[in-house]
Point group: C2
Chain length 482, copies 2
């Protein structure tokens, strides 16, 4: 065995320091100049040592900042499993609210240093100054606005609806402004959609796991949820849905999040989207699309909406700007196809028209092209944050952990090895000042109790990484089967 | 017969001019100086003539402005009739939406010069500049607000809820801020209240006539309305309600507007309020109170809410600032007594928390005492406008017309003589550029087709008076029975 070269000795020295935790993930490596002075080596030896560690994935070079310690990739970190049997659970009344609200209430009572539970980005990721300016301009430009009820057209401000219609083109949806009804967020849109096509007691097919807010809506409307197995990659299983429809010939609606599903992060392939739209049409089952996240895909080619394949008005499209532009505004909308008139009446009877002011401000913002620029920046930030959080999970979580790799969006879906309970983790984490969304919020069953959703919305920082490391320690310590 | 005195000759001259329409209601009488010059009479003769006309109710003196022509009081203008038989119609599913939305759609398509249909005040009656300033201050004082979801406490901004709780004391209601859930207007509050205590198919007792928005909510929720005869003076007939409860032992809620009911303008006497609260409690029927208008009473002693007599949490109190402070903001709230937790869950599932911004701005406005000052001004303006509109109706509408005399609020309820149809009037008026709210919007029956609601929210003007005069002509010309 040849004697180790000077540069590999140097590299090994730092490798040990990193493994011992003296230098930690995210720390800056001493500068090349410092290395030269401290170890009395030449520039070329110092550089070679760094490059060697870089090539082994231990360090990363950041332009103009030097080398940094990278998160350690655990060999065992595996991609998500596909759902097993294609048979859904029996349709059941949702009893999720108690569970979810207990979790939310508990979260809110406890002081948290690290919030990994939120479903939107950090305030810094949104153009709050520009929106504030637009709001002030809308206020000044429309004196008396606060003294007049609602917008001039009852379904929403005409300029805002036109801007939304124009934006829908990105997702390959052609809508006229008249087909759009402005709502208080996507949540109100989903309520209206479900109220339009169901009665209490009806069966509604949803993805499993799915956004807990949807399960709460079903519960509050007295509907029964039929949870359809869904793939972390391709979303709802059409095969499982077809099978389910054979046992339940009374499915009254299908609700899906085709793009960057919450919590899976799945994106339905276009072929699946088309098939689902046609199948629902043929079965005469209204298809409700929750399009909250499609603008948050990593790729520059936007994700297309189910509505793009709708030729008969059977798709009810629901969306909002809550995640993409302004978490502090409740601006959503619905385009209800065949049920437009019914949804219009339900919205009017439920909460009247949304206020004009935010609509006017956002319409102006959107017309300026600032929205597209903002989205490009937001997508880049979220992608980086997702990578950073993934890397931290990869380095700290126990071997056997599985992790989603969504092509966009705000969250990761994590499966803990050894059937560890996310409910136990939730309580332990909260005690440690860390908030997470335990998997059992996302289904009426307990099937996802060994999963958790980790938000990547917060700006990545040293503390965040330490939080994930601490969380990983808690995961490790949980009772488990293997 | 003695020769007419000089002053009575002069007075008669002007009386003729007024009767001929040369001088019209609201016109300024020539000044005393002009009279002296034009008719070469003494100061005392000119003054005597004016005082004579004033004592006969033809002129009115306005401090520092001189004499003005008063509206001609038609002898036949009578107060409202009490409802006849104390028996309600059979409970029925409401089918009002079609009717109401056709009327609203038609109104919105037609250009209108005179709007007598609106249910809020003119923008000039609201402190829009101060609110705008408060909004801008809230935006500037809370950077990043538009980038953060919801208020820190899920049921609404803590400062706003505290301000609302403080205000509730006026209506003799003691609430803590925690008992208040902020909603998108009173409409959303009513929805939540009804969803909390009923199932589709249930029977709900309401006043007859009542606010059409309530009937639309009942319709949209699949509820059956039991319309209880109500007095234009004292509101819902408790006798009729008790009778109705004997035929319908399954009344699942009673909804009333105890103060300044829409459209009647009735105010329940405190004794009735107390009896109703106790009766509902004893019958275990949830009592839903719509308290939209109580701050708009003429008197300085505020009208008390039903909730003031609630000792068991059986009263669900719903209210909003839409009529009293800011028609351009959707700020309402609900205090749901026993059903607090259920309403909290329904609100969360239906539309999430209201945005923070308007709540922060209004909380600041309310804390400053500006709200009370504004309300005093608003009440005075509305009282004057109501008197002016009443006077115009009194002078121009056909003999036999009956008119409500509400002790506050925004509207008058008018019964046309000879069973003239308000539906026909609605169409004829719209053609003439005048919008009214026909009586048949306010009941599921056609019982109120010969009534109309006339808004007094607009600033009184020469054109408005001419509009009422024109409307009176259309009423006169309608087919009628006598
Ligand atoms: C899939 C999905 N739909 C809807 C929402 C809520 O939408 P909004 O805030 O626009 O009401 C969320 C938020 O978490 C979500 O994940
Ligand atoms: C009795 C009554 N309740 C509620 C409302 C509507 O309230 P908001 O605009 O606060 O939703 C009205 C408006 O006309 C009303 O007359």
């Amino acid at each position: 065995m040849p004697a180790p070269t000077l540069y590999s000795q140097l590299a090994n020295h730092y490798l040990h320091a990193i493994e011992a935790g003296t230098l930690r993930c995210g720390d800056r490596m001493p500068s090349v100049r410092t290395l030269m002075e401290r170890h009395t080596v030449s520039l070329s030896t110092a550089l070679q040592a760094c490059r060697h560690l870089e090539s082994r994935g231990v360090l990363e070079a950041r332009p103009r900042s030097g080398y940094f310690v990278r998160p350690r990739q655990q060999a065992a970190l595996a991609p998500m499993k596909e759902p097993g049997a294609a048979l859904p659970d029996p349709a059941q009344y949702v009893g999720i609210h108690q569970r979810v609200s207990a979790i939310i209430a508990k979260s809110q009572q406890s002081p948290v240093a690290i919030n990994l539970a939120g479903a939107c980005g950090a305030p810094e990721l949104y153009p709050t100054e520009a929106l504030q300016t637009a709001m002030i301009r809308a206020l000044r430009g429309n004196p008396g606005l606060l003294g007049r009820p609602g917008p001039p057209t009852p379904n929403g401000d005409p300029g805002f609806r036109a801007a939304i219609a124009k934006n829908a083109l990105w997702a390959r949806v052609t809508l006229s402004a008249d087909e759009i009804i402005v709502t208080h967020g996507c949540i109100e849109a989903l309520n209206l959609a479900l109220r339009a096509v169901t009665q209490p007691g009806d069966v509604v097919a949803v993805e499993s796991p799915t956004f807990f807010g949807l399960l709460q809506i079903l519960e509050s409307l007295g509907l029964r949820a039929l949870e359809i197995p869904s793939s972390p990659q391709t979303g709802i299983s059409l095969e499982a849905l077809e099978l389910a429809a054979q046992s339940y010939n009374d499915i009254k609606a299908v609700v899906v999040v085709p793009n960057l599903q919450n919590p899976l992060g799945s994106v339905m392939p276009d072929r699946h989207k088309e098939d689902l739209v046609h199948w629902c049409e043929a079965q005469r089952i209204p298809l409700i699309e929750d399009d909250t996240y499609s603008a948050l895909g990593d790729a520059d080619t936007p994700l297309s909406a189910l509505k793009a394949w709708d030729r008969t008005g059977n798709v009810i499209h629901c969306a909002s700007l809550h995640k993409t532009l302004a978490p502090g505004m409740r601006l959503g909308w619905i385009s209800a196809g065949k049920w437009h008139a019914r949804v219009e009446m339900l919205k009017y009877a439920q909460s009247r028209s949304n206020e004009s002011l935010p609509q006017i401000a956002v319409a102006e913002f959107m017309a300026s092209g600032a929205y597209e620029r903002h989205l490009r920046r937001l997508r880049t930030s979220l992608r980086r944050q997702r990578e950073q959080v993934s890397a931290a999970i990869a380095s700290y979580f126990p071997a056997g952990t599985r992790l989603s790799q969504p092509p966009g969006g705000l969250a990761l879906w994590v499966e803990m090895p050894g059937k560890r309970s996310s409910e136990s983790l939730f309580h332990a984490a909260l005690q440690a000042g860390i908030r997470i969304a335990p998997g059992l919020m996302f289904s009426n069953s307990k099937r996802f109790d060994h999963y958790l959703r980790i938000s990547c919305g917060s700006l990545y920082s040293r503390e965040l990484e330490q939080g994930i490391r601490k969380l990983a320690g808690l995961v490790e310590a949980l009772p488990h089967t293997d």
